[in-house]
Subunit: 196 residues, 2 copies
């Protein structure tokens, strides 16, 4: 790599479709971190800075805050699907990935939940779509006779664990998530991102 | 009773400290219903109307929307404490009352959860205080060797069930709450308010 950071610590603006895809990926990863650290009302400029791009680049990809948040959720689900599609995937490993996203995106999960409970139907349909994709990814890995094998128990358990993911620090959130899975009698692998 | 509804279907304005207490109680009950039906952004005028008082009376008791919401949560916890203090109280009966408040106030529970996850510390301290009161009320009823007897498992389970309380209708919310308790292997009595 011959490119060097600019004086502001940013990489020079990327151009072309490959660079655009790279910027988008960096923005989504940065948004997940910034939202997790500072909540959903964190300034978008902080996201652009963390991703190493200018704010103009951010707005080229995402017209507003909701679009950024939706992209993070979408990417969470995509990573869960990828983890479930891996050749050596097991339910416990993928539940570890699900749990990582739950704790990393605790603020989101709650927001979607709050908006659903408040009856905002648009959000509800969107949340249901994402939830159905997670369910499909997990259901294919359910061993026969698993404790969560009955009709809706799988996603009910996921919702229950997401309800437990509170606390001031990431560590406490993860600790509570694992305690919740234990209470449900469900084995969960290491809490980490897919490929992480 | 000699008082009659006015033309607008309201009872005439109550006066004096007893009437003030009666109005406050009616406003809180109305707020719980209206928020459950229409979400937390429902017009306060609808709450006053449901309680059968004028908006001026509402504002005399509650300076703003947050004050109304806080009063509902406070009253929820008070009713749980009363249920737990009853002579024939059992854990399962009181968990039924807790579950009733969870489903009746699903929008709130999510909001408190979302604000906590978003790191709004004021709300966090307030939510923790309410949560500790519920824990004290329930802990006194835990039989020896109960499944939720270990350190934080009791309130973890309550948080998990509250995470499951979603869905477009009250019936579905209650159904999911009961399914969640079942998954946890915890017996829960009828879902109803204290004294209801």
């Amino acid at each position: 790599m011959t490119r060097r950071p600019t004086a502001e610590g940013r990489r020079p603006a990327n151009q072309g479709p490959k660079a655009a895809a790279r910027n988008r990926t960096a923005l989504i990863a940065a948004a997940r971190e910034i939202f997790a650290e500072h909540g959903l009302s964190a300034p978008l400029s902080a996201i652009a800075r963390r991703a190493g791009v200018g704010q103009g680049v951010l707005y080229r990809h995402f017209p507003d805050r909701n679009a950024v948040a939706a992209a993070v959720l979408e990417e969470n689900v995509r990573q869960i699907e990828q983890a479930a599609a891996a050749e050596d995937a097991t339910l416990s490993v993928v539940l570890g990935v699900v749990t990582w996203h739950m704790t990393e995106s605790a603020a989101f999960v709650s927001l979607v939940h709050a908006e659903t409970a408040n009856g905002r139907v648009g959000t509800h349909a969107y949340a249901r779509d994402l939830s159905e994709r997670v369910e499909r990814a997990l259901r294919g890995l359910l061993p026969d006779g698993h404790r969560l094998g009955a009709a809706n128990d799988l996603m009910l358990a996921v919702a229950m664990v997401s309800g437990a993911v509170t606390g001031p620090t990431r560590e406490e959130q993860e600790h509570r998530a694992l305690a919740a899975w234990r209470l449900l009698g469900v084995e969960v692998g290491p809490v980490r991102p897919h490929g992480g």
